[in-house]
């Protein structure tokens, strides 16, 4: 049988155009504002008229209310990401798979946490999103394991095994998975940097973005730690960004937020970030800072995808925007369920 030719610009153009069209179909800002004035059943009906129809129809006999929304959103996200993997050819697919490993980390941690706390497989399954490389069948087999140790054993050969082998016993003993989680994400970013340098078209641009994302994450962590007064931050910082871990440790020790902002501004020269950091000086809540930093990150990614239209960037922009759409809808639904005022919910939306 003849093989599909993936060389040349055609496959990039095909995949990136599909992603652009999909991005247009995402929920626009006006619809979020409209949904803020709706009740939960109205929101469910509203999103049923969009791309979530299939999932809501399929699940409406088993779930209702907030559970229906949650599960439908997770299913849709997983389905959408798997579809993107199907569409992307050759090296683009490998790169996308690497990027989606974030979901594998989340799923593995959820299973380990659930198993450690003795939760039933059904309850753990409800929070899993099989959007990464570990598919539904593999996740089901992990859920059927009796103990967290057996889950770790079953993950041998998946790329997590060495880190899990090193860190899991200590995590289980202390009862906190925070360090294990940090280490897994650090490895994830290190692997992404290696993949970006592997020769994929747009990889150099993406490397620039990954560094920016690492910077934003480190800055977010620094702002969080400023209120918590933690002395040693080295374990919590991700390597590979504009700052070394030692520099970040020094920044964490600065006296005021102003010193931290000045140091960041002198090193990370991105116009929207500059504007945001100026606003941060004027008393902004930690949550608002994090939300705005995420918006800056998305804006930068969008710019990159326009500068490199036929590269990996448009695909990753779609994956990121889709993720935030699902998070926004979940925040909206949860907020409405808990009778939180619309203004407060709006603060939590990434629009």
């Amino acid at each position: 049988m003849a093989e599909v030719v993936n060389r040349g610009p055609g496959s990039y153009i095909y995949a990136t155009t599909r992603m652009r069209v999909r991005k247009i179909k995402l929920v626009p800002r006006e619809d979020y504002l409209r949904m803020l004035n709706m009740s939960l059943p109205e929101i469910t009906r509203f999103i049923e008229e969009t791309q979530y129809k299939a999932e809501i129809d399929e699940l409406s006999s088993s779930f209702s209310g907030i559970d229906l929304m949650e599960v439908a959103l997770s299913w849709n996200l997983a389905k959408e990401y798997q579809k993107v993997l199907d569409i992307t050819p050759g090296i683009l697919k490998e790169f996308t798979q690497n990027y989606l490993r974030r979901w594998d980390i989340q799923n593995v941690l959820n299973i380990l946490r659930g198993k450690t706390q003795g939760l039933s497989s059904g309850k753990i399954k409800a929070v899993l999103i099989p959007a990464g490389g570990l598919d539904k069948d593999l996740l089901d087999s992990l859920l059927n394991e009796d103990s967290p140790e057996r889950v770790v054993d079953a993950l041998k050969g998946t790329g997590f095994s060495s880190l899990l082998g090193e860190e899991f016993p200590a995590a289980q003993e202390s009862g906190s998975f925070a360090r294990l989680e940090n280490e897994l994400y650090k490895q994830y970013f290190a692997d992404l940097i290696v993949a970006a340098k592997s020769g994929v078209k747009g990889g150099v641009a993406f490397l620039e973005y990954i560094r920016f994302e690492i910077d934003i994450r480190n800055i977010q962590t620094l702002f969080r730690l400023k209120t918590g007064r933690v002395s040693d931050v080295r374990d919590m910082m991700i390597e590979g960004g504009s700052f070394t871990v030692e520099e970040l440790q020094r920044l964490a020790g600065t006296e005021s937020i102003d010193d931290l902002i000045d140091a960041v501004k002198s090193r990370v020269r991105v116009a929207p970030l500059d504007a945001l950091l100026n606003e941060v000086r004027e008393n902004m809540s930690i949550h608002e800072i994090e939300n705005r930093l995420t918006c800056v990150m998305l804006e930068q990614m969008e710019k990159l995808s326009k500068r490199h239209p036929f590269s990996i960037c448009p695909i990753l922009v779609y994956l990121k925007k889709k993720r935030y759409e699902v998070e926004n809808l979940r925040a909206l639904a949860r907020g409405k369920e808990s009778n939180i005022p619309s203004e407060r919910i709006q603060d939590y939306l990434v629009m």
Binding site: G8, P9, I13, Y14, A15, T16, R18, V21
Partner: protein
Amino acid sequence: MVAETIMTVEVAEASAAGMKAIGAGLAVGLTGIATGIAEMAIGPAAVGATAENKDIFGLVLLLTVIPETIVIFGLVVALLMIF
């Protein structure tokens, strides 16, 4: 001894007709290649966009064939040269 070449009227006319034919061939051939190169990017984009939204098939078909004008210009030039 110097070899002399005698150019008769018939030979000159045949040579001119041959040159015209080569020119016409180049006009169509080169513009055909240019059209192909232009469509190489538009084609996959059109197929990708149609795969996501079938309603735009008519529009993308139109966009895909726009570079065909290049080869049509070449064809017109070739016909003008020959006739």
